[in-house]
């Protein structure tokens, strides 16, 4: 039988960027800065593995910090947490 480790932490893998939940104020600032509404943001599902790991829920906005080759070392992006399931 294969030996098992405690549950694998996907956030530690080099392929997942940092995901951070924004506070209400930060979200307001973001929407104001780009003159957009929540639904204009790219989305992420509430049952996305990372969303579940960091405990974000429907309605939260997540800031994603990715490594970049094309500009400054790190780039920020945002996703709005949607209800529903990824798998159809």
């Amino acid at each position: 039988m294969v030996k098992e480790k405690p549950k694998v932490d996907i956030l530690l893998h080099e392929i997942t960027p940092k995901h951070k939940i924004l506070t209400k104020e930060e979200t307001e600032e973001l929407l104001k800065k780009y003159s957009i509404k929540l639904l204009n943001l790219p989305r992420i599902f509430s049952d996305d593995p990372v969303v579940e790991m960091i405990g974000a829920r429907y309605g939260d906005v997540i800031k994603i910090i990715r490594k970049s080759d094309t500009t400054v070392k790190e780039v920020e992006s945002y996703r709005f947490v949607m209800k529903g399931k990824r798998v159809r």
Partner: protein, 402 residues
């Protein structure tokens, strides 16, 4: 007076540039350029200024139709790509889908790629030692009944299935007949299962009367997993440039492999986009799409700026799940009827749209091109002229004063 630029001066200038947004790769190039040559402070400053200016000039302005440009920039080199699959990829004996077929797989978000491959990195303890690496390899490589049995017969006399095991293969894999019996126990539940040590075979009588059912059962038995991880077909171990042993396998099952002790769960990866999305989430999937498509183009010797691929990946992952570019994805959910009709299945789109009374809002590119109107949302069409009323007032005032 020309002062010679010190190392600190050069570094400081570069650091300042980097803080203003110049990409790390360019900073690196500048650094290696200036490295061992003597420059004056003015020269270094001038160099930095010129790089900064060039970068600013190269930046995209708002409203640039990057989608169209990206599509062309990826599509045009695509016509130069081969349609064949090469039968090597680095070290291995197995074939990897490359070139155009692979790019199509990525862009179509195919649920099951034709050559799934897993790259298993090991923790320090295991990666420096070939023997230990081999241990892990044996643990994960799947062994099914069909690889250790030289025949699986249906005995029509007593409606049983006989599994003839190859002694040599069993020994080679370190298995005993009784182990096989244990794994096949479930097939003997409703009937009988017994081991014949003399003839090295296992006889299973599942108490089935229908020959077809018996044959189906035989198929299932052939595919039964004895050891290893389901889905991990062949594997090879090789030494990476970083002097560590890595396992590359045909077939992937990240979910299970990551749990194994000795496997580095921070680097072990596969080329299976949907698998990555399932385990690591949409952002990781986006990253894999970028890496895989970059790899395809690079292998074909094509130099496509990665920004086009970034745009493509961003679009595919926008909704939170991976959508293909084609008509079951991005192109299929466009608002505009004309755009969808112009893409594929023309008549069906038009009929369905008219039957349900859809309205064409004429906001996007294809529909406006079709009717010959300036596209209102993109490029030059997004800019409108506005009269400067203040200036008018000033002119009128000047005129009335004369």
């Amino acid at each position: 007076m020309t002062e010679v630029a010190s190392k600190e001066f050069k570094t400081k200038t570069l650091e300042y540039l980097e803080s203003r947004g110049i990409p790390h790769s360019i900073i690196g190039e500048m650094d290696s350029f200036m490295k061992d040559i003597e420059f004056s402070k003015e020269q270094v400053q001038y160099f930095a200024d010129q790089v900064y200016l060039s970068y600013l000039k190269a930046m995209i302005v708002p409203m640039e139709p990057i989608g169209t440009v990206a599509a062309q920039s990826i599509g045009e080199p695509g016509t130069q790509m081969t349609l064949r699959t090469f039968h090597f990829a680095g070290v291995s004996e197995f074939s990897v889908t490359q070139g155009l077929p692979r790019l199509i797989e990525i862009v179509d978000a195919r649920r099951n790629p034709s050559t799934p491959i897993m790259y298993v990195f090991l923790t320090e303890e295991y990666s420096k030692n070939q023997k230990k690496a081999r241990e892990i390899h044996q643990k994960i490589e799947q062994i099914r009944v069909d690889s250790i049995a030289y025949d699986v017969e249906i005995d029509l006399a007593d409606y049983s299935i006989v599994v003839y095991l190859d002694e040599e293969l069993l020994e080679d894999k370190g298995l005993e007949i009784e182990d096989i019996n244990k794994k096949l126990k479930k097939y003997g539940k409703k009937g009988t299962i017994e081991t014949d040590l003399e003839n090295n075979c296992i006889i299973i009588n599942p108490e089935l009367e229908d020959i077809q059912k018996l044959q189906k059962r035989r198929e299932k038995i052939l595919k039964t997993l004895i050891s290893g991880i389901k889905g991990v077909k062949r594997g090879i171990i090789y030494k990476e440039d970083s002097n560590e042993w890595v396992i590359q396998t045909e077939g992937t099952n990240l979910a299970e492999v990551l749990k194994i002790k000795g496997v580095d769960s921070t680097r072990t990866i596969s080329n299976h986009i949907h698998e990555i999305e399932k385990i690591f989430g949409i952002e990781a999937a986006r990253e894999i799409i970028i890496r895989e498509s970059k790899q395809v183009l690079r292998d074909q010797g094509l130099d496509v700026d990665q920004r086009h691929l970034l745009a493509m990946a961003d679009l595919m992952c926008f909704t939170g799940r991976i959508l293909q570019i084609g008509r079951h994805g991005i192109s299929g959910v466009k608002e505009s009827i004309l755009a969808r009709a112009a893409f594929e299945v023309t008549i069906k789109q038009l009929i369905n749209a008219s039957v349900s009374g859809e309205e064409e809002k004429l906001k996007g590119i294809p529909e406006n091109v079709i009717i010959g109107q300036l596209v209102p949302t993109i490029g030059t069409g997004a800019i409108k002229l506005q009269a400067d009323l203040q200036k008018y007032r000033e002119i009128l005032q000047d005129m009335s004063e004369d």
